[in-house]
């Protein structure tokens, strides 16, 4: 029986260290699946771009580089704030951790607001994915292909931002309740890993969609 272990150690683990290492390994394996999921879409991007190189260059001009750049800055800063939140828990500063988690949420929300403006403009002019596409102003074969892959990738990424916000909010509540300490902050650390992956995907999405040609 594990009656000598702290309460946060679940019964099927020998001790806190084993639980911590198992959690981390599990999270990294999940991140492996995330890399391959987004990677599959990046492979589709590579194929479509190889098939229609000129169309891609023409179509990407429809994207606003300023908004994309701001979103990049926003996500990078949010990675800093969530790293600082976890660091705060490591050194026993739960109030600072809550503040950093709130900052992370605000930055994530900013990202989504900017994406909303980008998406709504595209909906307005008919730059929609696949067979919903009606915009006339882009030269080249099959411009709907560019927007198909754009919405698929930024859409899946945006979904990850929303899910990430939900999990970060949950961590914020648990931190406020005093559930974490320098000895135990693993759930927040795992949340941080997920959030950094979201940032990592965007680091590749941004140049490949906004800055080509």
């Amino acid at each position: 029986m594990n009656s000598t272990q702290p309460a946060y150690v679940q019964h099927h683990f020998v001790d806190a260290e084993q639980q911590r290492e198992s959690s981390k390994l599990g999270m990294w394996i999940f991140l492996l699946t995330e890399v391959l999921t987004f990677g599959g879409l990046f492979a589709a991007y590579a194929v479509f771009r190889a098939w229609y190189p000129d169309m891609f260059i023409n179509a990407h001009k429809a994207l606003d580089v300023t908004m994309g750049s701001i979103n990049t800055v926003v996500l990078i800063t949010s990675s800093v704030t969530i790293a600082l939140a976890i660091r705060s828990l490591q050194i026993g500063k739960a109030i600072a951790a809550q503040r950093y988690l709130i900052l992370t949420l605000l930055l994530a929300a900013t990202f989504l607001v900017i994406k909303y403006f980008e998406y709504s403009h595209k909906f307005h002019v008919g730059q929609l994915p696949g067979h919903f596409y009606t915009y006339e102003g882009i030269e080249g074969t099959n411009p709907h292909v560019f927007f198909g892959i754009y919405f698929a990738m930024t859409g899946l990424h945006g979904l990850h931002v929303i899910i990430g916000m939900g999990v970060i909010t949950w961590m914020l509540i648990r931190t406020a309740k005093g559930e974490f300490s320098p000895e135990y902050y693993t759930p927040v650390e795992m949340t941080g890993l997920f959030w950094h992956l979201v940032d990592l995907v965007w680091i590749y999405l941004f140049p490949l969609f906004y800055l080509i040609g």
């Binding site: 390994l25 599959g40 990078i76 800093v80 320098p182 990592l200």
Partner: protein, 114 residues
């Protein structure tokens, strides 16, 4: 100035802020380079800068520089298999216009039949 929690290494504040500043600087570099016409090299440079940024995020923010090497192995494994996926898919699609003589014969025959 390095502190230790029960978990071991705590990254210094300066490191997090320094890496964040480097990432923002590299973002400026990426945008600036994209405004210069380097032909085919634009994609290469963009991906290289993105990879440097990604490495900073993975090594420092995701703590892989100081963690057990197994996590780094898992992450590198994902990149290796992703590389195989993309490279072999591109091998396929980039060579589709070339038909072997036998394939050409078959296509001719099928056209005659249809």
């Amino acid at each position: 100035m390095s502190e230790h929690s029960q978990h071991g290494h705590v990254t210094p504040l300066k490191t997090y802020l320094g890496v964040g500043a480097a990432l923002l600087f590299l973002t400026v570099v990426t945008v600036a380079v994209s405004l210069v016409d380097l032909g085919g090299f634009n994609v290469v440079v963009a991906l290289l800068v993105a990879t440097v940024k990604g490495s900073l995020v993975v090594l420092f923010f995701m703590h892989l520089l100081h963690d057990n090497r197994i996590y780094l192995a898992v992450f590198l494994g994902s990149l290796i298999f992703l590389a195989i996926l993309i490279i072999f898919t591109m091998f396929d699609t980039m060579t589709r216009d070339e038909m072997t003589p036998l394939a050409e014969l078959v296509v001719e025959q099928v056209k005659l039949m249809v």
